[in-house]
Symmetry: C2
């Protein structure tokens, strides 16, 4: 195997902590001062979790799922100098339509933030007569313009690739039902214009291993590497006492991301710490962002913990990708082009 490289920008101020003790043997290790965002982070918001961040200007910016004290989730903007400590706007992001008129989702959760060329895109789950994907763009984090809802209900866990592939935008998503969805595979769809979507392909199936046997869903925006697109995703196990959400990873073909080249059969991180096992929804680790520094190969994963906190974990691209490749198990569903 040739040297593994991240294909992307440098993030010299990437948040980072070397592993200590037993963590030194893990491909993905926790930040020791997790969670980085605790309960009641701003007035009227009980919990911030399942959130996504990017470098911006001389620091970082992010879109955060904030569950208000009435239980309804909205998306809040946050800023940080060091990507560990965050300040949040007290009001949810104001989305407008293309004419500039307010156009707020009735609820909005699990946002992802992706930069393509000079534009930032936010995608989230919202009510579209049923749970489905909302999409908006901004260039300045002051005005946020909603675009067409890319898909029919029911869908969750959408995330754009950070660049066009073969001339089109690509979006991962996880078709679902209207409830707590006891099934779910990851698909990818193409769009020439972010209005019309098609050429849908199946990417990967639930069910390879028990930890992800109930459903899976795209997590962080894929990271481009010399081996393919590194995707952190969540896998769910159904137990007699509810769902358990773990973090897994796979590597998708660079030109045809519906083809899974490698898939790690073991979870990389599963609820073990108090902030993952205890909370509004116990036993959830849910990745929504992964920052990567091309020069050092350092990766920082932001994940929601127990639907109550934001936490951080770290990896080195080369070691992690070696780990995935060496342990990889893929099925025909994973490796085929995904069209029936």
């Amino acid at each position: 195997m040739s040297e593994i490289k991240i294909i992307g920008s440098d993030i010299p101020n990437l948040p980072w902590q070397e592993p200590e003790g037993e963590a030194a043997d893990l491909p993905l290790w926790r930040y020791q001062d997790n969670p980085i965002i605790g309960r009641n982070p701003i007035p009227n918001v009980a919990r911030i979790f399942n959130s996504s961040v990017l470098p911006y200007e001389d620091g970082f910016i992010g879109v955060f799922r904030g569950d208000k004290t009435n239980g309804v989730p909205s998306i809040y903007l946050g800023r940080s100098k060091d990507a560990f400590h965050w300040n949040f706007n007290r009001e949810p992001i104001l989305f407008t339509d293309e004419k500039g008129n307010p156009f707020m989702p009735r609820y909005a959760y699990d946002p992802r933030l992706v930069k393509i060329e000079d534009t930032y895109y936010i995608m989230w789950c919202q009510d579209f007569y049923g749970a489905s994907i909302g999409l908006a763009k901004t260039k300045n984090f002051k005005t946020f313009t909603r675009l067409e809802n890319p898909f029919l209900p029911f869908n969750r866990n959408a995330v754009l690739f950070p660049r066009k592939i073969n001339g089109n935008y690509l979006m991962l998503s996880r078709p679902s039902d209207s409830g707590h969805t006891p099934f779910g595979d990851i698909f990818v769809s193409e769009s020439p214009d972010l209005v019309f979507w098609g050429r849908h392909r199946h990417v990967m199936s639930r069910g390879n291993e028990w930890w992800e046997s109930l459903k899976i869903g795209g997590g962080a925006a894929p990271i481009e590497t010399s081996e393919g697109w590194l995707l952190f995703y969540h896998g769910v196990s159904g137990t007699c006492n509810g769902y358990v959400y773990s973090i897994g990873a796979a590597i998708l073909d660079r030109d045809n991301p519906s083809v899974v080249k490698y898939r790690c059969p073991t979870h990389l991180l599963t609820p073990e710490e108090w902030y993952e096992e205890r909370g509004f929804v116990p036993n959830v680790t849910f990745p929504c962002a992964a920052l990567a520094d091309a020069t050092t190969g350092r990766i920082a994963v932001y994940y929601g913990s127990a639907d109550s906190y934001v936490s951080l974990a770290f990896a080195r691209a080369e070691e992690l990708i070696h780990y995935i490749i060496q342990n990889s198990v893929v099925t025909q569903d994973d490796t085929e082009i995904g069209l029936r």
Copy 2:
């Protein structure tokens, strides 16, 4: 109300039977010799039902759901001189990809047939790593070329409008789950090219009335009239002994079909006859085609009965549409543009 007109072609040889007795008071009445297609219509096919027909050359042609004796459904081509009596090909329609290579769905059911300009389109439900919509085109009923699957799973009951609206193709569909789907509204989606789809809008909700309180789904291709698009659809009631499928009707705005102008709160036809109450799935009347003769205003509805037979019912456009308008009940979900 001005005179109601069908906007479309003449079908002088439309199948027709005047109502007799009590049927004279009904807006939609049954053909007295139903079902027109009985059990075991061709070798190895146990039941033909939920099928769709159009005029073709000097007679009629159709795509028929045939459940084989192994239980798996496929689509069969049928031809008829009078639209009552049908002859079927013994093998399912051979679908190919754009290069002409065989590309068969693993299963295919509930096909609809729609002509737009000089091309015939077939859409059906099939396996796409979950139930979703398949789409194919033909000009000669000899070669059938599959197009991109328009939507992600899970979806059923897709039907194209018979002409472009505002320059785009429009397709109704009913997002669902992976099973027997105990919910479901009708949506409409646009496409400039039948490859990429978007501008999804909610059309109408289940739940107005008990007979359609569980789910609804588009049925026949909409018929253009001076009052709007006349849509025959199915509505489902959940009982302690299973689902009951009835036939309803609504009228959609001609330029913005996501807006329901009128909706009949009562079913037009519900399982009452032996061929609707008895069969592989009892208590199903399921419309998949409606032929209309512009000059006379005569309408013939083809509907599947009990997942076992094909049956016919008739209406006069003017009387039916008056009935719908006079009884109409619409909710905000129905009349709004359908974007959230």
